[in-house]
């Protein structure tokens, strides 16, 4: 809802895709490239796929992952190994099949003629990297991606297809690029590049800092959120986040109303800390 004006509405399908590549980028991050199911709709930047955990004889809900890249033949994800689901996916050999539903959710909006400053933290990189590679970006006046991670290793500089002209890096420990958070980097870079709109995706504390930054600068801000999901189709109301509405609170689903929201509508105090 918040974002649907300028974003494509996803028409999800249920598919099986083969693993084309499964490669470590750093100790915790890996790149998973899947064959693109022929009938699958072109996923907008910000949309996600909902993946069946390939392990197991126990019960697993599906896991949501943002699209990192997509071409005629493949669809790519960048994944941080977190729990059992992402561990099982890491173990998938090339050729293995993965069951997925997608594309799901609303993408980041088109912003014709505007200068975009995009702040990505950790795996929050995916939708923002993807936006930069999409035709949507041609409408922008400029698209500058700031990417921050804990440490140099997690910037996987040598292992990833960076358009380094368009990206600036930060690391929390200062081992590469700007030393400090990506929001602190944004304070610096905005002076250099200017910005009419902020995009952000990453851990909630970072998003909150980005929202404060955007508010201080009086800029519109679109943010991509995460939340625990069950259906991912807007059916079960599991994945809601609070938004301000008529002086009170309403709940919107991350899966279907989001994952991209207008940051000004969110009731930040009601979002989970992590």
């Amino acid at each position: 809802m918040e974002c649907s004006r300028n974003s494509i509405t996803s028409r999800p399908g249920h598919y099986r895709a083969a693993v084309v590549e499964n490669r470590l980028l750093s100790r915790r991050y890996y790149l998973l490239v899947l064959s693109r199911p022929g009938a699958m709709q072109d996923p907008g930047p910000g949309t996600f796929i909902h993946v069946m955990v390939p392990a197991g004889d126990r019960f697993y809900l599906r896991r949501p992952f943002s699209v990192l890249d997509c071409d005629a033949d493949t669809i790519s994800l960048i994944i941080v190994e977190k729990g059992e689901g992402t561990r099982a996916m890491r173990a998938l050999p090339v050729g293995a099949e993965l069951d997925l539903i997608g594309p799901l959710g609303h993408s980041f909006p088109r912003v014709p003629g505007q200068r975009v400053l995009a702040l990505g933290g950790g795996v929050g990189l995916a939708p923002l990297y993807y936006y930069g590679r999409r035709r949507e970006v041609r409408d922008c006046e400029s698209y500058r991606l700031l990417y921050g991670a804990r440490t140099r290793e997690d910037l996987f500089l040598e292992r990833f297809d960076w358009d380094t002209e368009a990206v600036t890096f930060s690391s929390d420990d200062g081992s590469y690029g700007h030393a400090g958070t990506v929001v602190a980097l944004a304070e610096r870079e905005i002076e250099r590049w200017g910005a009419d709109v902020i995009f952000s995706c990453g851990p909630n504390p970072m998003l909150k800092a980005a929202a404060e930054f955007a508010t201080r600068r009086g800029l519109p801000h679109y943010v991509s959120l995460e939340n625990r999901m069950a259906c991912a189709l807007g059916a079960c109301r599991s994945c809601v986040v609070p938004v301000r509405e008529n002086g009170g609170i309403a709940y919107r689903t991350v899966c279907n109303d989001g994952p991209v929201f207008d940051a000004d509508t969110l009731a930040w105090e009601g979002l989970p800390a992590a």
């Binding site: 019960f59 539903i101 625990r228 999901m229 069950a230 259906c231 109301r237 994945c239 009601g270």
Partner: protein, 300 residues
């Protein structure tokens, strides 16, 4: 194969005949349409829409869903659009699609059930009503009146007399010593069928904070881990009443579904497993189409 022309897997619940005995449980497929991108809901026996209350409900704060190795806990808190929005926005969307629709409703007081029944009576686009007397997930103690046989009988009668041409199902809670007594009360009140079971009260804790995962503490346990308990409850109910039973709880495979029929159910609803395997209901429909003898009650 046009399922509409096959009669051997149809199921009759009170005044209504459904195409087949396979339904999606309440709370799983929203107001009915949400799974349409993935499956032909027209081919199911029907969908049970998200439980509605007279007034819209905000529901519980996130997190609302929590995975465990044997299923899921949820704490949705009956978020819903309320009866009026349901009637204007939701119900009409399914009307012309030939989808079997069961409207799930919950309320606290007898008068509210009167209001519900009277507002629903003149409408079309649905074939059945399910009284959700068993949601463990909300604040008001009163909403858990599904444990009190007298009350169950009273409100069943209130709704049935006002909706004589619909299939009236009473969904009962497993969180009770004597489920058969509640089922008998529903039958005595005129229910056309029993839906059993709803989620089981459970809790999980965060090891770092020592807090329950959910703000409200407990949640509703569903998924494979509740299967043997749900089968037990259906089996007990089947020995207590003669109206049809919708078996619900932990169905993740065709085999699981068959066990509910053995236990005495005449139909089944799939819940949590649909999140993982959206085709599951369709696969169960096909299986029963091919093998209608799988709908027999045990022992064979």
């Amino acid at each position: 194969m046009n399922r509409k022309t096959r009669t051997d897997s149809t199921v009759r619940i009170g005044p209504v005949t459904f195409k087949n005995p396979v339904f999606i449980a309440s709370g799983i497929c929203g107001y009915g349409e949400e799974y349409s991108p993935l499956i032909r809901i027209e081919d199911l026996g029907g969908v049970v829409t998200k439980t509605i209350t007279l007034r819209p409900r905000l529901g519980n704060p996130p997190p609302r869903i929590h995975e465990i190795p044997t299923g899921a806990l949820n704490s949705i808190g009956l978020e819903n659009v309320g009866l009026d929005n349901y009637i204007t926005d939701k119900l009409p969307r399914l009307r012309d699609r030939g989808v079997g629709v069961i409207v799930s409703i919950a309320a606290e007081l007898a008068e509210e059930f009167v209001e519900f029944a009277e507002k629903l009576a003149p409408l079309d686009g649905y074939q059945g009503v399910e009284l959700n007397l068993s949601c463990p997930n909300i604040d008001e103690e009163a909403l858990d009146h599904g444990r009190n046989p007298e009350f169950v009988e009273e409100i069943t009668r209130i709704v049935k007399t006002r909706l004589p041409e619909r299939a009236l199902l009473v969904k009962i809670t497993p969180n009770v010593t004597d489920i058969a007594a509640v089922a008998r009360a529903a039958e005595a009140g005129g229910a056309d069928g029993i839906s059993a079971v709803n989620t089981i009260v459970g809790v999980d804790f965060d090891l770092d904070s020592g807090q329950p995962i959910f703000d409200r503490g407990s949640g509703g346990y569903s998924g494979p881990g509740i299967l043997p308990i749900a089968l037990q409850k259906v089996w007990e109910v089947a020995q207590a009443v003669s109206i049809p039973i919708m078996g619900i709880g932990g169905i993740s495979s065709i085999e699981d579904a068959r066990k509910f029929f053995i236990a005495g159910a005449s139909a089944i609803q799939v819940g949590t497993a649909l999140f993982v395997d959206p085709e599951l209901t369709m696969n169960i429909v096909s299986a029963f189409d091919d093998r209608p003898e799988w709908m027999r009650r045990g022992p064979f």
